[in-house]
């Protein structure tokens, strides 16, 4: 049995766990804990080690999706999770510009870990306060060749689209193109 993995990363509360949950065929193995810090009390729990989802491709191949913990104090996990990944997805909450800087920092960190293809998913695009994609591209300082995709992590089709775009980027890179 061959296994491959993709990593879903991004700031706290960007929607990484929901993203994996939308497509995983198993209940996501989540290592969530109650949040203690008052400043991070946007939601009740957060991922402290990793989320883990699975998609069985066929009898010989399984794709694992790993979600990184969003809180900065768990960033020692990132390098471990990035080992051997096919590519990675950076989730960004489109309604919270205060997290854009951190998202960019996470992106740079992962690029330093491994030169694998990546895409950026602008999550919560269905919310009224969501920033426009073109504004987010500038705010995140993404080059025009970097894929910045509309995303609603709770919708399976939207998540599938992000995963497919990452896979197309991986194919492009194999053909010698840019991701």
């Amino acid at each position: 049995m061959q296994t491959v993995k993709m990593v879903v990363t991004g700031p706290f509360n960007a929607g990484k766990t929901e993203f994996i949950r939308s497509v995983s065929e198993i209940d996501v193995v989540s290592t969530e804990r109650k949040i203690s810090a008052e400043t991070e009390r946007i939601k009740d729990t957060t991922t402290v080690a990793m989320d883990f989802g699975r998609i069985t491709v066929d009898n010989d191949l399984v794709l694992y999706l790993f979600g990184t913990p969003g809180q900065k104090r768990f960033d020692f996990m990132w390098e471990i999770l990035s080992e051997g990944m096919l590519g990675f997805i950076v989730m960004v909450d489109s309604t919270r510009p205060e997290t854009f800087r951190e998202a960019r920092s996470i992106l740079e960190t992962f690029r330093a870990y491994a030169p694998t293809p990546y895409v950026v998913a602008a999550n919560k695009q269905d919310c009224q306060d969501a920033w426009a994609i073109e504004d987010m591209r500038i705010a995140l300082r993404l080059d025009s060749h970097v894929k910045l995709l509309n995303c609603v992590a709770l919708e399976k089709e939207s998540v599938k689209n992000v995963l497919l775009e990452l896979l197309y980027s991986i194919l492009d890179e194999m053909d010698g193109g840019k991701s």
């Binding site: 066929d58 997290t99 854009f100 960190t109 330093a112 194919l171």
Partner: protein
């Protein structure tokens, strides 16, 4: 789509950068400690600015800029109070009180001063409303934002923020592909020019700092200014070894199968995900 937030989280430098690069037209409203500030932009350039609902009229701005004497100021206020800034400006030029260039430069300095104030604000709710034009009858200017951004970031001293913006000095820089942008028109300091002369994907930021005898804080500040002005972007240095070991950076599947098999593997995953 909304473009709103708090300066605490998204700084004025980042906002100006966004407006500049997206060539936005509209008004940026920032709630200040006393009065809101309104800054109008046209196609990514500063056009007009005022503090509070009632702006300083042209005569007040010219008086503060020492272009009109106290007596002239009083007389014009009395007699020309009902005129719009545009009408008044025309009248003053025709009466040889002042030249058109003096009016424009005084207004530019006044508007830039208002924007510069914003750089010192660490907090304030902002929103950007597209396609809103300056109040009728006001004289508008056209000031590029790059110099404003560079000037503003020169004042930036927060080491922590600079570290967040540029997490690794082992990355390199390259000039962005921006048609129409000309770095020769930008007012850079000698140190900034020296850094610019070393920008090349082969040179890491650390190497550039060493070559220019700059410490980490100084190089970060300069690079941050250039990044915010949209002139450069961070890239992996040419030929650099990735941080992680060969074993960890390349999936096992890639090292053990040939290119065609790898592609076939990806196609299988694509088919599976499409079918989900």
């Amino acid at each position: 789509m909304a473009l709103k937030g708090n300066l605490r989280d998204f700084t004025i430098t980042q906002l100006l950068n966004l407006i500049n690069l997206a060539q936005k037209t509209g008004v940026l409203t920032v709630d200040g400690p006393v009065d809101p500030v309104y800054v109008f932009f046209r196609e990514g350039k500063l056009a007009y600015a005022q503090v509070g609902r009632n702006s300083n009229g042209l005569v007040t701005i010219l008086h503060k800029a020492n272009k009109l004497t106290a007596h002239q100021y009083k007389v014009i206020k009395e007699r020309g109070g009902h005129l719009s800034d545009k009408e008044l400006g025309l009248l003053l030029i025709n009466a040889n009180y002042i030249t058109q260039q003096e009016i424009i430069s005084s207004l530019q300095a006044h508007f830039v001063g208002i924007v510069n104030q914003l750089f010192s604000w660490v907090e304030g709710i902002f929103k950007f409303d597209s396609d809103v034009k300056p109040p009728q009858g006001k004289i508008v200017v056209r000031v590029g934002l790059e110099n404003l951004i560079i000037d503003g970031t020169r004042r930036l001293h927060e080491w922590e923020q600079l570290q967040d913006e540029i997490p690794s000095l082992d990355m390199a820089l390259k000039f962005t592909d921006r048609p129409g942008a000309n770095i020769r028109d930008i007012n850079l300091s000698v140190e900034e020019w020296r850094v610019v002369s070393y920008i090349n994907p082969k040179n890491s930021i650390r190497q550039i700092a060493r070559a220019n005898k700059l410490n980490e804080m100084e190089i970060r500040r300069i690079v941050y200014g250039l990044l915010q002005a949209g002139f450069v972007q961070i890239v992996r240095p040419d030929g650099a070894a990735p941080r992680v070991s060969q074993r960890t950076q390349i999936p096992a599947t890639r090292t053990t199968v040939d290119q065609e098999e790898q592609k076939s593997l990806i196609f299988r995953i694509i088919d599976r995900i499409r079918a989900l």
